[in-house]
Symmetry: D2
Subunit: 101 residues, 4 copies
């Protein structure tokens, strides 16, 4: 499916449901803190699995006990789309099971 | 903490809360089916992370799109203990986030 | 490709090149010991990736700091085939990079 | 162990042994291309395991079928040290086993 850029209004509405995510430029981002580097690796594989299922592979940075996501859609000219919001929601739902906060 | 074997009655009560788990000999077991081998690998790392956090490393078998757990406590003579039930509950809570059924 | 069962002679020859593997029934098996459970999880994901690439998903058991493989080919009636030897060789080549012995 | 910053001359010598790595600012970097996102996730966990073993957690970015490393040492003021070179060498040795190029 082609992913239409969301309007500024729709991005704002989506972020109200994702209170720990914020808009940075044309990406929505969140950094998760994990209880160990093992846990950070576990969350990373989980996000990679979700990216594959949604066929939406945005950038993920593994730091020391942290996992940072920065999500936007390349073929929508780098704008935020529903696919980005869907990925953020999926990750948001599973991250606590890895001990993320 | 030393883990006391649970009575047959307590195991039965625990399994009522874990309806997809069953008692096989002196282990509680469940096999999860995953939507892909990638997802099975993702759940496996997640379980390994939880085992490490609970310091309770029971046996896990990765098959083709499946992850099978067989949980008991070696230093309780191979009986089912509260640690086993705690591990089963943690895995049960996170498996759906990997698409397990 | 259909995988022909190897003759007893060919299995023996293959195992001479895989000195830490042994024949158990109609499977070839090896258990790797890892320096940590994190390392065991890392090797597990690596094996899962190789299984996917070879389209050959044999059984892997993750224990406490251990990864055990038991490899045979279901559609060859559970015999040892060249696909099994190929999987064993690939895993054997990468396991030391995880600290396995 | 405290990690001393390497001289420009020593960094240059180290990079001659790591021909696919380059100096960017005060980091040494390389981006690996993998045959699948599963393979990229596998390499990521492997690098995370190595980071934990070396107790040296530099930044790793997982993209679409890519893993990018950018390595320097925070407590050496962000300079390149022997620990960085050691991490790069370990990853360089294992990446081909994930199909990286």
């Amino acid at each position: 499916m082609p992913a239409e850029p969301l309007s500024a209004h729709d991005v704002e509405a989506a972020l109200r449901e994702l209170p720990d995510w914020r808009l940075e430029g044309d990406r929505i981002t969140r950094t998760y803190r994990l209880p160990s580097h093992f846990a950070a690796a576990g969350l990373t594989v989980h996000v990679a699995q979700i990216q594959e299922e949604l066929d939406h592979h945005s950038e993920l940075t593994l730091g020391y006990n942290t996992v940072a996501l920065a999500v936007n859609t390349h073929d929508a000219g780098g704008a935020v789309t529903r696919k980005d919001v869907a990925l953020a929601e999926r990750v948001e739902a599973v991250a606590p099971g890895h001990g993320a906060r």
